[in-house]
Symmetry: C2
Subunit: 347 residues, 2 copies
Amino acid sequence: MTRKLDNDLILRAAKRKPTERRPVWMMRQAGRYLPEYRAVREKADFLTMCKTPELAAEVTLQPVDIVGVDAAIIFSDILTIPEAMGLDLEFVSGRGPVFHNPVRNDRNVKNLKTGIMPEVEYVGKAIEETARQLDGRVPVIGFTGAPWTLATYMVEGGSSKHFKVVKKLLYSQPDLLKSMLDKLVVETIEYLDMQIQAGADIVQIFDSWGGILTPEAFKKFALEPVRTIVEGVKTRHPKTPVTVFSKGARTHLPSLAATGADVLSLDWMIDLGNAREQVGDKVALQGNLDPAILLTDPAIVETETRKMLDCFGNGPGHIVNLGHGITPEVPVENAKAFVEAVKRYRV
Amino acid sequence: MTRKLDNDLILRAAKRKPTERRPVWMMRQAGRYLPEYRAVREKADFLTMCKTPELAAEVTLQPVDIVGVDAAIIFSDILTIPEAMGLDLEFVSGRGPVFHNPVRNDRNVKNLKTGIMPEVEYVGKAIEETARQLDGRVPVIGFTGAPWTLATYMVEGGSSKHFKVVKKLLYSQPDLLKSMLDKLVVETIEYLDMQIQAGADIVQIFDSWGGILTPEAFKKFALEPVRTIVEGVKTRHPKTPVTVFSKGARTHLPSLAATGADVLSLDWMIDLGNAREQVGDKVALQGNLDPAILLTDPAIVETETRKMLDCFGNGPGHIVNLGHGITPEVPVENAKAFVEAVKRYRV
């Protein structure tokens, strides 16, 4: 996809090239804090929105128009892949995602469908529609869940607090878990490839749960699959930046930087300056305001945002973001205050 | 309290003195995985057990007798202090602890009771009864919650996933939060003093939620109160070892070691060898097997436990433990396999 972009700040920052100011977007920026989002959500359930390109594109564009962010992340969910592999997904109100047929044994893993791109074609269509409507105003971000994170949902059967089932599997049948992760890696490379072909200018891999593993297990079950995916995507699309967000992985930054990713997205539990010392000029950094700060007021948001920007220091390679997704209770004026504070900031 | 101990391994290891073998105990070792515990629990609710010295002593001794651990941690709860300060505590089945009158504003903080030792005298009595029944077989561990962790429950009104209320308070009214923490610090020093006078040979401060803070907030709201408590306890009881467990604080080990604590208790997300490099010979280390390993079988428990012991390396100063509390589903034979693996291990 080569099309002219009016604003390519995020793409330049991802490659650590100079920018006039730092680019900014927010994880979960197409979300419930926006009244305009809630209006669409009233007409359709979450999965229907993901699977209807016009609706997905509509909410994907909202934060660009309303909040003024520098990129549009496609409205979708990390669980599209497990669902397409044969898991029966339902979003249960007050409980989150539920898989009614979790993966627990050898047969379950064998039965996972492969070659599932036709089943997730709707994501490509949503990206195409988004890119068409954006018409080059800002880049489109595609994304996927990391295999380990997907595996936690697939094995636990949904969200989890202590991850007992998947950890028991990890320690008792590491080869079975590995074979499941291998299947996920193959599909994920195809998935990101498809998204890039559909118009994604940069892609992000979300590993929400690598941080709950021991260092040894992290390397084997969280990091290695991500590394293979980055390699696979880079082979096909050497110019498309790849971002890795590994929540709670603040002691693994050098290993994450060595995956070949262009950008590491950080949670708020580490200082950007400290992170930068650890990874040097190997990667750009994304993040990392504590999203809870957006629950306060515009003045506090501005002060804390400036502190975070100061903490990164000078030089290129900072894509400003939150350390995690924006939450539904955030007043829109606070989200705007965050974006405005970044846009006003110089150096 | 000077009484003769038959087994003082944990006390020597806490001071980094040589021991014949490494001592071992488990966080939440007096708990639901033991049928004998469940039998007592059937007769009395959780808070009644805490407040009845005979019942508390009975379950405190169970893991010493049944599993063979090298220390008895008093059966109690970190929320005893907030309750005594005037919060209406209830343990709601399936939901955990609930405070019906959470602390949200200036008036709430002012109304927190001080000088509450008479209200928590039952903890001292339980320790006395435990020490009497143990008769020097193993040391008694006293404990408290860290002020920041207590504050999260007091402000949120119970357990929390995203800590939005307390974080909003932290960012909008830091002085109010600080004054609340100051009150908790004063009571906590008295509380640990009382426990030591009653017979606790070593005390542990549990900070479950420091790890969710930014580095700046961690220093101010989690670390500093703990440092003041360690200092206060050490002034009164210079010989009693103090352990600090700060879950998720693996990037703060040097600061935690500088609090004056004798022992840092670690979660499983960091290698013991790596942790040791960071803190040098300043403190002993406690931990840190992933408690999920106890869900497997005795052979895997033994293998993984030996790996963890190898990882610490040679030399004194290792109190073996889990990286977090033992969970109810653990088969007793696996808990025993953990303890036995440590006892058999040499070097």
